[in-house]
């Protein structure tokens, strides 16, 4: 279908607008039904987009008929389609969980959620780096509002930090875009990748500054080491469905790093090739170490999980920094696995928190849980997956990354760190599990049935783990093809991206003359 690539953006946008209008804005039940219907449609559309991209190659959607590099283009390649599908499924899980009651704590939860989906899908699908900025702002302003949804002292405090940091990040993003436009004369990602080869020495220095500024911005979004301090408290303070949805937010930073530093400044970029890698290596390793210390030091379950997010970002970027096709493929598999599992963990932690009274999620002796069996099994599966025990996807993804790191230097750094953090996670999560489920005091209250919607949501996200293992063959095949597509510099199909033509145009001329 011609308009398929824009559907994941249009659908949530129209849905959000409709939900603010009378027939739906009056009743929360109608909003819930409508929102879940839209999310299921979005999952179907994403699957369709993924299959189309897989079978027919990269889809280019030119808005307004202006051919690139002049108009705004959406590019749906394998990576974009995969990320959109990931977002849709995670979003459906978070939404189902929210429908069990969390969406009533404040107003406009569902419209905000849809705007968030709009921003995230837009960021994944755009082929233009300024549009990436615009969609970043769309998803950020929705996330500011979602983060504080329900109100409360903790949320306000975390949100002030989050908003200020991201506003500074946006300013730096714009500075970087200004520099890159000044030297390259274009903002279309494919076009930038072609022009970056033909820069003179002065322009190379400026472009390098611009590219590294972008690394700072995306590092802030992804929570890379010196810029990760906002994440644990923010994620621990917000409500569970929002935290689960935010599991995709750090991945957007990683995705943008992949796009900019593999497509634009990849191996064909001449003197600027791989310029981010010397930074990514040590920072990713240190991020893993800091996150692991955070997991051990956390006084509560939600803070531990938030630190697990930091570790997963470090692992992902480490695999990205290896810069080999097999490593990128492993990183993509790990990305799918870690997004679902952190989402599920946030939801499980919330259910545990709600049953422990005043002790909330802290590791102290408290009254016993009302449904220890169901929650215990869910927590046990999630913990096994995070640690990387055999039957689940954590094991497969870890093996894939370890296999990809096969040169001497990489093995020396990657193997011990990845294996040691598994051990540390085992210790930390066993401590969490034993304290929460076994070290209980006080009267055993009667078990209430859990809200079925919440259980379905958790089952959906946790179920992804065995599915990832059972269908490991096709999925790794897909991630390998995606990695190959990222590493090769194949020109877009049916796109009119002529380098010569661009040079004839006035803007191109004025910049090349400089």
């Amino acid at each position: 279908m011609l308009h398929l690539p824009i559907l994941p953006i249009l659908l949530p946008m129209l849905a959000a607008a409709l939900m603010l209008l009378p027939p739906l804005s009056q009743s929360i039940t109608r909003q819930r039904l409508f929102a879940v219907t839209i999310m299921i449609t979005l999952v179907i559309v994403s699957v369709w987009l993924l299959l189309t991209c897989h079978q027919q190659g990269t889809q280019l959607y030119v808005l307004g008929g202006w051919q690139p590099p002049f108009g705004i283009a959406l590019v749906a390649d394998r990576l974009s389609a995969l990320m959109v599908l990931l977002t849709a499924i995670l979003g459906l899980g978070a939404q189902l969980y929210a429908c069990a009651g969390d969406d009533k704590e404040g107003m406009y939860f569902h419209p905000l959620f849809m705007f968030q989906m709009l921003g995230v899908n837009g960021a994944f699908l755009t082929g233009d780096i300024f549009n990436l900025f615009v969609f970043f702002e769309v998803l950020l302003i929705a996330s500011y509002a979602l983060l504080i949804h329900g109100g409360g002292k903790q949320k306000t405090k975390a949100n002030v930090h989050y908003v200020i940091l991201n506003l500074v990040g946006s300013s730096i993003f714009l500075f970087a875009l200004g520099i890159l436009y000044g030297t390259l004369g274009t903002l279309n990602i494919q076009d930038m990748a072609m022009k970056v080869v033909s820069l003179n020495e002065q322009q190379q220095a400026l472009t390098k500054a611009g590219g590294l500024l972008l690394l700072v911005v995306f590092g802030l979004k992804a929570a890379l080491l010196p810029l990760h301090f906002w994440l644990p408290k923010t994620y621990a303070a917000t409500s569970a469905p929002v935290a689960a949805l935010f599991a995709i937010m750090t991945k957007i930073g990683v995705y943008s790093i992949l796009r900019v530093h593999m497509t634009i400044f990849g191996q064909d970029a001449g003197a600027l090739a791989h310029m981010a890698i010397p930074w990514l290596w040590p920072l990713a390793l240190l991020t893993i170490v800091m996150g692991t210390i955070g997991v051990l030091a956390s006084p509560g379950l939600r803070l531990s999980i938030a630190n697990l997010v930091v570790v997963s970002v470090g692992t992902l970027l480490l695999a990205v920094a290896i810069q080999r096709e097999s490593a990128t493929s492993a990183a993509l598999y790990y990305m799918i696995h870690s997004t679902f599992i952190t989402g599920a963990l946030f939801l499980i932690a919330d259910m545990i928190t709600k049953q422990r009274g005043k002790a909330e999620d802290r590791y102290v002796i408290a009254r016993p849980l009302q449904n220890p069996k169901i929650l215990g099994i869910a927590f046990f599966i999630a913990a096994l997956t995070v640690v990387g025990m055999p039957p689940f996807s954590g094991f497969v993804s870890k093996i894939l990354i370890l296999q990809a790191a096969n040169s001497m230097r990489e093995t020396l750094w990657v193997w011990p760190i990845l294996l040691l953090i598994s051990l540390v996670f085992l210790v930390a999560l066993s401590r969490a599990g034993t304290t929460i489920f076994w070290r209980a005091a006080g009267d055993n209250t009667q078990g209430k049935p859990l809200a079925p919607l919440k259980c379905i949501a958790i089952a959906l996200l946790l179920g992804a783990s065995p599915v990832l293992v059972i269908f490991g063959g096709p999925i790794t095949q897909y991630t390998q093809l995606t990695a190959a597509q990222l590493h090769s510099k194949a020109p877009l199909p049916n796109s009119k991206l002529p380098i010569k033509k661009a040079k004839e145009m006035p803007t191109g001329q004025s910049h090349n003359a400089n």
Partner: protein
């Protein structure tokens, strides 16, 4: 012209970053505003500075690049909305926390014992 322009952008950005690093929300908001001015001017300059140049071809002997002007317009709108949101959030935070410090509490400065002696004595 380029030198003055670059100096102004640099000064605005430096002031902005300095103010963003302060502790009170209002001052941080001012800093972010200055920073967004610097960003807008910088983006504008990325299309090169030309005098008497229309952005439409054929209107003047020289032409200026229209794309940065469109980018600046977008950046202004977004920056304005974000600042408005931050102002409201800062007021909410002031109401929730009881003070306007970004950390939600005013850090207590350690008082040296000699000063305490003077005050008591």
């Amino acid at each position: 012209m380029e030198v003055i322009y670059a100096f102004c952008v640099g000064l605005l950005a430096a002031c902005g970053f300095f103010l963003v690093l302060r502790g009170r929300t209002f001052i941080v908001v001012m800093g972010l505003t200055l920073l967004s001015y610097a960003v807008n001017l910088f983006l504008f300059a990325s299309g090169r500075l030309t005098l008497n140049g229309a952005a439409v071809l054929g209107q003047s002997a020289q032409y200026s690049d229209p794309l940065p002007q469109a980018l600046v317009l977008t950046a202004i709108v977004i920056g304005f909305a974000m600042t408005a949101f931050l102002v409201i959030l800062a007021m909410r935070s002031r109401a929730d926390q009881g003070n306007d410090h970004v950390d939600g509490q005013i850090p207590v400065r350690p008082v040296s014992p000699s000063l305490l002696d003077k005050r008591n004595g």
